[in-house]
């Protein structure tokens, strides 16, 4: 019998704190880490079976049009080529996160430049690549194509459910002592996970096994089955190691379906890896955004009104739209509000989730606007934020489950030395460097996703955790080991974690920062199930049972598990679902960023000198992996502030900088002086672990602290990200 929990009310027990093993939260090394540093962790493309063929995908080179023919014969005649596949089941673009069904399929209609429309399969990768380069496609091009979101011909949707209005913002703006009404733009971004999307498909009769690189396997199985037109019971996906995701591997993607079709047709396993360029063009981008932000405040800086309207884009027929304003309804007070979203339909690479969809760009713009409000009101930016923290969700009128924004701001300011910041921009100079400080708030919504897990306590006192959950670098192997070790009183080397296999119980998958808390709760419940079974065997009640170091202690008995179990296994199952606590309270994570930059007075180049992030995300399950997640998020913020920008050609929408040489990610030399502080917090509204998500919080507003620091250093206000040197240079004073 599985232990089931629907999260309908707050958990007040905090069971983990009552346990005796004391490994929860500790900075243990990743259990799978030795395999990773030794090069023995096997990712999708490392599973190549003997006799496998290799497939290389081929792209269409029109923004919109028809594919009328594929010259298969010429390529089939090349040495080693086994098949040319241009099948209507091929995907136009990946599935959106948690779709659970195939995205738009078909190769006849081309909807964006770079759409993958054919696969060449050969005995070797080199032969397949040669064939793919030689494959002639007959494409027509529709001259009326819209590729620019600001093209007046673009269809613009303004969905009602993304619109909300409270009070009278226009009036509040007129009455305000201080107001801001500015437009901010962010460019499209790429997830750019280090492992390109890759799949190996192998059929055994009607059963398909796919080694893939995916974040959310139960959904991916349904999507793949739907795309192929087969029963999902015949599909097994394996992804024990995933080389980064950041949203780009939420949904099934083109190479998986292509590999499966080819493998079926040829009767041999087929491996298909997307090239880096194909990943840039074919996998989700984060939409560019244009954001109009209005802030109205009184003499004391207290906000009376907030307006946040966003313009984003996506392909026709895609339901996803970057939720830019997601945190705006609850971050700051203000009785008069207007929130809206507009989606332009364009023929560009599909837009989807990239790390922290919504807050990553939305909070960044809002926090630059707050800095502008601080500037014109003469109120310190830190103080301005402290004055505007609401005591409940100002839009919904419900309490926060927990809100440590104030503490995050104060702790960060103290630790960073915020009081040493000059309030007058452009006044601190060191040689040819202008130096300044900036700050921003962080916030991200918190979610719980239905999740199941199985834990087996074996007769020899080892716990085996099983779930189709993934670890995309997030630390799942570590935190699930710690939860089970804590609950069952086992040292970490007595816990084995098996993940990334759709034959195992259905977990939440990795995405939206919900993985550790959702799947962790399922493991927690499975362990409670085992504890209950142990109590039955020992004839004690759960409160009097202590488990530690592989022993059960109750009253004056202390017995090793092996003696209690006598060689048999105990199987526990856990199942958690979201419930009423989702609506009863506003659940979110909060934090603060402080950054110091040097801007070169001659070139306008910005160098980050140091940056601090203070975060509050409920119980921290592993200090080490949580800190690493925050470092990663903040570095995405550095990239957003200074470097990252997908550039679309205005004529046909193609991505001009479709590789890692031209799309500039932060490298080691761009990232120095990063520090992370994790605040102590428990949030029983979230789940019985009292933990919330932390994987995305580090990016939500991070870029604003850097852009604000540039302003403090130079007096130049950049509203069009990234703040590349050309944009800064034009505002710098002339050299004397």
């Amino acid at each position: 019998m599985a232990l089931h929990l629907k999260m309908d009310e707050r958990d007040d027990c905090d069971r983990l704190d009552a346990m005796a093993q004391k490994i929860i939260g500790t900075p243990i090394d990743r259990p799978e880490g030795a395999l990773k540093v030794a090069g023995r962790a096997r990712y999708a493309l490392d599973m190549l079976p003997a006799g496998a063929c290799h497939g290389v995908l081929v792209r269409a080179t029109v923004a919109k049009g028809k594919l009328s023919s594929v010259d298969k014969d010429a390529v089939m005649a090349l040495p080693g080529v086994r098949a040319v596949i241009a099948d209507e089941r091929l995907l136009r673009n990946p599935a959106q996160g948690m779709a659970g069904e195939a995205p738009v399929q078909g190769v006849s209609d081309v909807a964006y430049f770079g759409q993958l429309v054919a696969l060449v399969v050969a005995d070797s990768f080199e032969q397949a690549r040669h064939g793919a380069q030689r494959l002639k496609l007959t494409l027509s091009s529709d001259p009326d194509v819209v590729v620019r979101p600001d093209d007046p011909a673009a269809d613009l949707e303004s969905p009602d459910d993304q619109k909300s209005e409270m009070g009278d913002l226009g009036r509040a703006m007129v009455d305000a002592a201080f107001s801001i009404d500015e437009t901010y733009t962010t460019p499209p971004h790429a997830s750019a996970a280090m492992e390109p999307h890759a799949s190996i498909a192998e059929w055994s009769g009607e059963k398909l096994t796919l080694h893939g690189s995916y974040q959310m396997l139960p959904f991916n199985r349904s999507e793949l089955a739907d795309a192929l037109g087969i029963d999902e019971g015949n599909v097994r996906i394996l992804a024990p190691y995933v080389g980064g995701g950041f949203g780009s591997k939420l949904g099934i993607s083109q190479e998986a379906v292509a590999a499966a079709i080819a493998a079926k047709e040829l009767g041999v396993p087929v491996a298909v890896a997307m090239s880096r360029q194909q990943v840039f063009e074919g996998i989700m981008r984060r939409s560019e955004t244009r954001q109009r932000i209005r802030l109205a405040a009184g003499e004391d800086g207290v906000l009376t009104g907030i307006g946040h309207e966003a313009w984003v884009s996506n392909l026709p027929d895609e339901t996803f739209a970057e939720p830019v304003t997601q945190a705006t309804p609850f971050l700051y007070q203000g009785a008069h509000r207007l929130i809206g979203q507009h989606i332009a339909r364009v023929h560009r690479t599909c837009a989807g989730s990239v790390r922290a969809p919504g807050e990553a760009v939305g909070l960044t713009a809002l926090e630059i606007a707050m800095d502008e409000l601080a500037e014109i009101s003469g109120i310190d930016p830190l103080e301005l934020r402290l004055r505007n923290i609401p005591d409940k969700d100002p839009t919904e009128g419900i309490p926060f489950s927990s809100n440590k924004l104030s503490e995050a701001l104060k702790v960060g300011a103290e630790k960073f030395g915020w009081s040493e910041r000059s309030g007058t921009p452009g006044t601190r100079r060191e040689g040819e460097w202008l130096v300044g400080m900036g700050m921003a708030s962080a916030a991200r919504v918190n979610m719980l996703i239905e999740s199941k897990a199985r834990v087996t306590l074996t007769g020899d006192g080892v716990a085996r955790i099983e779930s189709d959950m993934t670890d995309i670098g997030t630390g799942t192997y570590a935190v699930l080991s710690q939860i089970a070790g804590e609950m069952l009183g086992l040292p970490i080397d007595h816990v084995d974690v098996h993940l990334g296999d759709t034959d195992l119980p259905r977990g939440s998958g990795s995405g939206g920062s919900f993985g550790a808390a959702s799947n962790g709760t399922a493991v927690f419940l499975a362990c409670e199930d085992i504890r209950n079974q142990l109590c039955e065997k020992l004839g004690c009640d759960p409160e009097s049972l202590t488990l530690k170091d592989g022993h059960a202690i109750s009253g004056n008995q202390r017995l090793p598990f092996s003696e209690i179990l006598q060689g048999t296994d105990l199987v526990g199952e856990g199942h958690v679902e979201p419930g009423k606590t989702e609506e009863a309270v506003r659940q979110a994570t909060f934090g603060s960023y402080f950054a110091e930059v040097g801007v070169n007075a001659v070139t306008g180049e910005t160098r980050l000198r140091r940056m601090l992030g203070v975060f509050s995300a409920g119980r921290i399950l592993n200090e080490k992996t949580a800190r690493s997640q925050c470092l990663g998020g903040m570095t995405f913020g550095i990239g957003m502030a200074l470097l990252e920008e997908l550039i679309h050609d205005d004529r046909d929408g193609h991505i001009v900088n479709r590789d890692l040489a031209e799309y500039h990610l932060p490298v080691n030399a761009d990232v120095s002086g990063l520090e992370v502080v994790l605040l102590d917090e428990r949030d029983g509204w979230a789940n019985p672990l009292h933990a919330k998500g932390i994987g995305e919080l580090g990016i939500c507003g991070a870029a604003a602290s850097i852009v604000n620091a540039i302003h403090n250093a130079t007096g130049v206000r950049v509203r069009d990200l990234p703040a590349t040197l050309d944009k800064v240079l034009e505002g710098l004073p002339p050299l004397s």
Partner: protein, 169 residues
């Protein structure tokens, strides 16, 4: 095309398509899958291996160019239960998250430490004639050919410092 080379101390005879990169020869022909393909264009560093002691992007080199060369891959530096100092330091400092760039980072760092010992200056070295100090700035600069999107950079720098300290005794 036939090529003889030494990989992780073993003599290997390859018979591969002339277009086969060293990276694909290692991964597909020799089944040493620790070396990763992140971009196939020398832009990310995930495929870094040591050739005659020096780090290179194995994706930018054809296998048939390596007749007689000595190649060391991540598998040749240590094993899960017998990690090299750098591998151990990456593990304990969490110098990785997803782990995909990690073999390249560690191969790169292994060679980088030798480059510093040999007195090679970098873009950030103050003095071209003196052996560079192993500062965070030097390490970051010299490791900037290895991209880590998870951004374990601060932890990578700490890991390298610790391993270098151990190496120097």
């Amino acid at each position: 095309m036939k090529t003889e080379l030494t990989v992780n101390g073993r003599r290997e005879r390859l018979d591969a398509d002339a277009r086969t990169t060293l990276l694909d020869a290692l991964r597909v022909h020799l089944e040493l899958t620790g070396t990763k393909k992140g971009c196939d264009h020398g832009q990310c560093g995930a495929c870094t291996v040591l050739v005659n002691g020096r780090r290179i992007n194995s994706c930018l080199s054809l296998a048939c160019m390596h007749e007689g060369d000595e190649i060391v891959t991540i598998e040749g530096l240590g094993e899960p239960d017998r990690l090299s100092d750098l591998q151990q330091a990456f593990l304990s400092h969490d110098g990785f998250q997803c782990g995909f760039c990690t073999p390249g980072q560690i191969c790169s760092a292994t060679a980088m430490l030798s480059e510093i010992e040999a007195g090679w200056p970098s873009h950030v070295s103050d003095d071209l004639d003196r052996t560079p100090e192993l500062s965070s700035t030097e390490i970051s600069e010299r490791m900037s050919g290895n991209i880590c999107r998870c951004s374990a950079y601060p932890n990578i720098v700490e890991a390298i410092k610790e391993a270098a300290d151990r190496r120097r005794g």
